[in-house]
């Protein structure tokens, strides 16, 4: 989830930078290349400081790095939901104490060394578990990785580990690093974090800060016939208006992650040669969430939280802010995760009269100026949509007598204010659902998270029942029983409202119709693009 602040969007600094980028844009990639080489140019809206996907598992990093460094498996539209990449198969032991991976043979690193189980064991024990933002949680109980032979890796866990969770997490947490490059070095500072070495379809070319990333075809890729383009260039275009005009000018062929603003989609969809693609992000659902500081004497009252939930007109949010490119949220698990989602939860209809009645009942009468309480509202600055929702929520709260003052911060300031200093009453966050509630969802409400962990429960909320369900699901092996626990989790969260889920949204791509094989898997933008082609 670090995703956002590294890549998103109009932080004040990036805006300043974007002006500079525009000035410099005439100097863009006129790199020499072989005649007839097929080059795909995509827009990148940020340059993550740390580009190693095994350390920072975030969409901003994957967008570029996943083409070079591959995970054990990628998400897939097929049954089972996974396509084998570096692992060809996996099997859990009955007691949940181990998972055995069969690894692909005949794979070599970009520097020519063979890929073996030692690389997987090293990545898991030295990188994913101790260093990675998400792996830290998923692999918390990982004790050891045995390597009986070069193409088998056995993960041993101290507590029972649901195979369902491991499988759901694989595309995100399992980017494999070359042991021979990283062993014995300071992994977080290794130069290979900037000039990546992997097994993927593309080899690291170069990065010119503020200009572009260049990746070249890996001629020795394990899947013969791929990749289908010779070069991928990520042109740094932090300015969203620039992405749209570059597409129209034919300078780039692809703008993913809604780099083209929603209001422009209608118009740009009609431009000949360009198409708007809404598929390919199903496993990257973002959630528009109102985070609540339960330390506030008003917000710790359930009736006040219920009143806020009733004051939000989700239809307005979907139609006006997201222009229909989102769905109303029922709870902490989005509907496009059918495996875990349930509709059988408490739903809060838009009902201002009821919200006012709830606040009256709670004993917060309107003062002479019509105001009941004053609150600070901190919208996350990463997306236009979170900022616009902040403006909307301020109005919606005014209708029920809550005077919200918007506190605007840049990305770093917002992180600090909400997740470290807790200097907020309400905050608006774009959290991510990553295919399994245990990966990055339950941490939003589980108590006992240390201060400073971004996108976690920093509102001081504690509910023993929710904690129990969350903990039990972590060690429940039977998928059915586990799903039932998460249904219960959704019911508990919507009943007690530790936070308010408003909408679930995904992204869109705009691409030239010459680009082939767009959206071939539910994490397409952050997958390896080995099968992407570019017609003449």
């Amino acid at each position: 989830m670090r995703a956002l602040f590294s890549r998103r969007l109009i932080s004040r600094r990036s805006l300043l930078g974007s002006a500079a980028a525009l000035l410099g844009s005439t100097a863009l990639p006129r790199l020499g290349f072989a005649a007839g080489a097929v080059r795909l140019v995509a827009a990148a809206d940020s340059e993550p400081r740390q580009l190693n996907p095994a350390i920072v598992a975030s969409n901003g990093v994957f967008f570029i790095a996943s083409k070079v460094i591959e995970p054990l498996a990628e998400a897939s539209y097929d049954d089972g939901g996974l396509r084998p990449l570096l692992a060809t198969g996996w099997e859990g032991s009955e007691d949940g104490s181990s998972v055995t991976f069969a690894l692909r043979e005949g794979v070599s690193w970009h520097d020519g060394k063979p890929f073996t189980s030692a690389d997987v064991a090293f990545s898991a024990m030295e990188v994913w578990k101790p260093l990675q933002n998400i792996g830290r949680g998923v692999f918390a109980n990982l004790e050891a990785v045995d390597t009986p032979d070069d193409h088998t890796a056995v993960f041993r866990f101290a507590k029972p580990m649901p195979l369902q969770l491991i499988a759901n997490a694989l595309p995100v947490v399992s980017a494999v690093l070359p042991k021979h490059v990283y062993e014995g070095t300071d992994i977080a500072e290794n130069p290979a974090n900037a000039a990546l070495v992997g097994t993927g379809p593309f080899v690291w070319g170069e990065h010119r800060p503020g200009e572009y990333y260049l990746l070249r075809k890996n001629p020795a890729y394990w899947n013969a016939g791929e990749p289908r383009v010779d070069e991928v260039v990520f042109r740094v275009l932090p300015d969203r208006a620039a992405a749209a005009s570059s597409l129209e000018a034919g300078e780039i062929q692809l703008a993913a992650f809604s780099a083209v603003p929603l209001v422009e989609l209608d118009r740009i969809g009609k431009v000949p040669g360009l198409e708007v693609v809404t598929k390919g992000y199903e496993a990257l659902t973002y959630q528009l969430v109102v985070e609540i500081n339960h330390r506030n004497e008003h917000l710790k009252e359930l009736k006040v939280r219920q009143a806020i939930a009733h004051a939000i007109d989700k239809a307005f949010v979907l139609d006006t802010i997201f222009l229909g490119y989102a769905t109303a949220a029922t709870g902490p698990v989005p509907a496009n995760a059918p495996e875990f989602h349930t509709d059988d939860v408490t739903i809060y209809d838009f009902d201002v009269a009821k919200a006012n009645a709830l606040l009256d009942e709670a004993g917060f009468a309107r003062g002479a100026d019509g105001t009941r309480v004053a609150l600070r509202l901190l919208p996350a600055p990463y997306f236009n949509e979170t900022k616009q929702f902040g403006d909307y929520l301020r109005r919606a709260l005014a209708a029920i007598g809550i005077d919200a003052t918007i506190v605007a911060n840049d990305s770093a300031g917002h992180q600090k204010a909400v997740y470290t200093e807790h200097a907020f009453d309400l905050a608006i966050a774009p959290t991510v659902f990553r295919g399994d509630p245990a990966i990055s969802t339950t941490i939003l409400v589980r108590s006992g998270v240390p201060d400073g962990v971004p996108f976690s429960n920093q509102g001081g909320y504690a509910n023993a029942e929710i904690d129990r369900v969350v903990d039990e699901a972590l060690v429940t092996l039977d998928p059915g029983a586990r799903v039932e626990l998460y249904h219960q989790f959704q019911r508990l969260v919507t009943a007690d409202l530790p936070l308010i889920n408003v909408a679930d949204w995904s992204f869109t791509s705009v691409a030239s119709d010459r680009v082939e094989n767009i959206a071939t898997n539910p994490r397409w933008a952050v997958s390896n693009w080995a099968d992407v082609g570019l017609a003449d």
């Binding site: 109009i10 004040r12 805006l15 300043l16 969203r240 208006a241 749209a244 603003p261 209001v263 422009e264 209608d266 118009r267 307005f316 006006t320 802010i321 600055p381 236009n384 616009q388 902040g390 403006d391 909307y392 301020r394 109005r395 005014a398 003052t405 918007i406 506190v407 605007a408 911060n409 840049d410 300031g413």
Partner: protein, 273 residues
């Protein structure tokens, strides 16, 4: 002076625009009652199509006219407050430096130099980033980059006034130097500073708009810069969202410059005579 000004066409045009702006700013709550950030209708209604919302609505359905009217209030407030702060601080520093002379002068003028080296906009940007955006912080941030002009001007004026006979006689009567500086010298150093203050007001309004454009304005009030920034994403499909507040900004700044220019000319003409 007023009569002299009224003879100049640029002063008449500028003055009329300026009066209109100040009137709109002062009467904003009466002209457009309620919260200008309230959602007034469907989003993205084009201008001149709906009589209830003559300038149309923005992305969230907020009235553009209400935003324009209340934005004028913000702009005028920011312009006047930051010019006041800048002139007050600049006069105080300039007079002190010019009147005291010696080390005090050297020291104060090096501080002025230090502030002049840094572009005012960057200074404001840095200050607001650290202190957090609110109306007062923005005004102070802008004044931070604008007070050096008045300081230099008043110092130069004080340097020549200091040697005047009336100052010498004030000394002889035993007046305290601070009293001489404040009561005898400062009022005479004021006119040239007032002449540049119009430039400071115009600059402050522009700087505020630029800060808001970059997302560093106070998010709880409407500002023209903020409106332009929000409209920018729809520039291709709803250009009026940026153009209308942009025109308001241009008209305001031009009118202030016209009046400032005319005032400067009149003052210069008088001095020549």
């Amino acid at each position: 002076m007023i009569r002299e000004l009224a003879r100049r066409p640029e002063a008449r045009v500028g003055g009329a625009l300026l009066l209109l702006l100040v009137a709109v700013a002062a009467l904003a709550p009466a002209l457009s009652p309620g919260d200008p950030l309230a959602i007034a209708g469907r989003p993205l209604i084009p201008p001149l199509t709906d009589p209830a919302l003559p300038l149309g609505t923005d992305r969230l359905g907020r009235s553009l006219l209400a935003g324009l009217i209340h934005g004028a209030r913000t702009s005028v407030t920011i312009g006047v407050v930051s010019a006041l702060v800048a002139v007050a601080v600049g006069m105080a520093v300039g007079t002190a430096a010019g009147f005291a002379g010696g080390l005090v002068d050297e020291g104060l003028m090096r501080v002025v130099d230090a502030f002049q080296i840094v572009p005012g906009f960057l200074l404001a940007l840095a200050f607001v980033s650290v202190a957090g955006p609110s109306l007062l912080v923005v005004a102070v941030a802008i004044a931070l980059g604008a007070w050096t002009g008045p300081a230099r001007l008043s110092r130069a004026r004080v340097l020549s006034l200091r040697e005047a006979d009336f100052v010498a006689s004030a000394r002889v009567t035993g007046m305290h130097p601070v009293e001489i500086a404040v009561r005898q010298v400062m009022p005479l150093a004021l006119p040239p500073v007032l002449a540049v203050s119009s430039v400071i007001v115009a600059g402050a309004i522009l700087t505020e708009a630029a800060l808001s454009f970059l997302g560093l304005g106070d998010p709880n009030v409407v500002t023209w810069g903020g409106m332009i920034a929000e409209g920018r994403n729809q520039l291709r499909s709803a250009a009026w969202l940026s153009i209308i507040p942009g025109l308001a900004l241009v008209a305001t700044v031009v009118s202030i410059y016209l009046v400032g220019e005319a005032v400067g000319d009149v003052l210069a003409g008088r001095r020549r005579r």
